[in-house]
Structures are given as C-alpha cells and as structure tokens.
Symmetry: C2
C-alpha cells in the first residue's frame, strides 16, 4: 500500500501501455508485460486480478497521460454548432491513433470478457456524448439537416467516428491522418449541416 506498491503498479501500467502501443494491441501476454515491468508474471496478479482488469486500468492510465479531458475543451468552447462539430472531429480523430493499441486489445477481449466489454462500451458511451453535444449545438443553431432527427444524427456521427472506421480508412485504405480528419469533417458537413445556398 506504500509508495513502493504504487510505483510497481505504475510500472506495470506503463509496461503494458508501451507494449500495446508498440504491437498495436496484438499478442501482448501477461508474461511480456511482467518481463517489461521487471517482475514475475505471478506478481501482476498482486495488482490486477485479471488481464481484462489490467487492460481496463491501462485505459484510465492512458487518459491521464494523454489528457483526454483537456482535448475536448476547444470543442466545448466553440461558438457555433459547425465549429463545435469540426472541433470535436479534430479532437477525437487526433485522439484515436494515440489510443489505438489499447483500444484494439480491449476490442479483442470484448467478445469473451464481460468486464472488458462493459469498459469499452462505457468509453464509447462517453464518446457518444461528445457526438450528441455537437449535434445538439448544430440543432440549436437551426443548422441540422432535416433529414435526420438529433438522435439519429448522433447515431450516425458516432458510427462514422468509430475506431474501426478510422482503422479501415487509415490502415486499410492507406489514408493519411490528415486526409482522415479532413474527409470526415467534410462528410459530417455534407450529412448534417443544412444546405445554406
């Protein structure tokens, strides 16, 4: 419980994070994490009860490191709905590649580990709130296309911005990160913003 304990815990989290980032989430075993943290595999279980729990804790550690909170500030301070939508796509779209390794590992556990599934869904629910806020701002400005209700628009934006879609476009279709961001902004405008011709 003392300082030493916390240090080891952090070392484990850092080790796990490093490995997950390096390998894009694939094939990171408890043994690997322990080795990198400089302890035995068994000792991992003195700090985290399962691999799933460790992975979940890594996501919180990651948020801490990368400052996920502050990133969304510009989107919250944006004036118009359109600015807010753009800012949100910028913020989230830039965040994805930084969390991709951990996200991939968690997504892979989603099907087998109930707790991991819950943890991932929680995070995605948070992300969804960002989408909803952007859509609401657009709606408030009377700039939301009449083709979609706010709820439906949120569903669509949320899906557009999924990690899987980022993966498919950047890794699968070889889009640059810049192209990804620019195109998603353009798509969002085309889909959600009422045409002011």
């Amino acid at each position: 419980m003392s300082r030493e304990n916390l240090n080891t815990r952090s070392r484990i989290l850092k080790a796990a994070l490093d490995l997950l980032e390096a390998s894009q989430g694939k094939g990171v075993r408890m043994t690997d994490i322990a080795k990198r943290a400089g302890i035995t595999r068994q000792a991992l279980y003195l700090h985290f009860s399962t691999r799933g729990e460790l992975l979940i804790e890594v996501t919180y550690y990651l948020d801490e490191i990368k400052g996920s909170e502050e990133r969304l500030l510009p989107s919250r301070t944006a004036q118009t709905g359109i600015e807010r939508l753009d800012a949100y796509i910028d913020a989230w779209g830039t965040y994805i590649p930084e969390i991709y390794g951990v996200a991939k590992a968690l997504l892979a556990m989603r099907d087998t580990d109930e707790a991991a599934a819950q943890a991932w869904d929680d995070r995605m629910q948070d992300m969804r709130e960002g989408c909803q806020a952007a859509i609401s701002a657009l709606n408030r400005d009377k700039m939301l296309s009449s083709d979609h209700s706010p709820d439906q628009a949120t569903d669509i934006l949320w899906t557009m911005l999924s990690v899987r879609n980022w993966e498919q476009l950047t890794i699968g279709c070889n889009w640059s990160q810049e192209k990804y961001i620019a195109t998603l902004k353009s798509l969002a405008r085309c889909i959600f913003v009422v045409d002011a011709t």
Copy 2:
C-alpha cells in the same frame, strides 16, 4: 473420397454454420461443432486442418446456400448509376445479417490467424469491387459529387457498408434492418450524388 466422406464434410459445415448463426459467432468450439455433426472432435481434423480453415470453408458453404452471386444481379443490371448504388446497398445490406454469425467468428480470428485474416480480406475485397462498380456507374453518368475522386468515394462507401457499422447501428443503436437500409441509401445519395437542383 466417396459419397460418405462428402456427406460428413457437409454435415460438419452445416453444424458449424448452425452454431455460428445461433450464437452470433461467439464461443463456438471445435468440440461443439463435432458434437453437433455427430462425430468426434478429432475427426474434424480429417476434413479441415485447422479451425481457421473450417471457418473459411463455412463462408464458401454459406455463399452456396444463400446464393450470394445472384443477389448482386439486380445491381449489375441497373440502368442508371443511382439505381445501381441503391440496388447494391439493398443487396449487400440485406446480406449482412445472414452472414453475420460467420463474419463475427472470422473477424475474431483475424488478429491471430493469418489465413483467416487473408480470407476475410479477400471477401471484403470482393465487396469493395461492388462498391467501386456502383461509384463508377455514378461517375459515368456524371452524377458523382465533385467532392470525391472515384477512388476516395469507393473507400468511403466501402467503409460505410462495413459489417462493423451494420453491427453498431442495428445491434448497438437498435436500428431496424429497414431503417439501416433506408438510412444508408439516403446517406450515400447525400454524399456521392451531385446535387441536381
């Protein structure tokens, strides 16, 4: 090699398919498949060398059963680009829920099994060709929005129509199949079709 052999093989494929469909691809073990096919687990390996290979063969079996070829005919015989785009979204969008169980299982293996990854990617490449054909038809009719090159439009349509997106919208957001199809058609029109006001 005789009739009996083929029958067992088919029985295995059917057993696997039934289980994958019933469980949406989750937690189907070799033992389960064998039991349902009425043979021993070890006997599975007399017909398929690995679980991955079995899964891949199930996809071909599935195509056979569901007639994936014929489904795309209406899209190929469509006159205008817009009709073709609509027909393709209809055909593919209707196909997804039927293959979802198998797709999910194959997707889950993608990260660990090289052959499974290749098999899945091949199928998605085929699907991509359908997207490309639709976009080309649109382009031929001078109806493709100038916002996107044909290649980029293909990337976007391909991503929009991914199994993961279908999953997120129908299962995750509780959209009905009809809403899914209708909304994707509407989105595709909004994104790809030049505005003829």
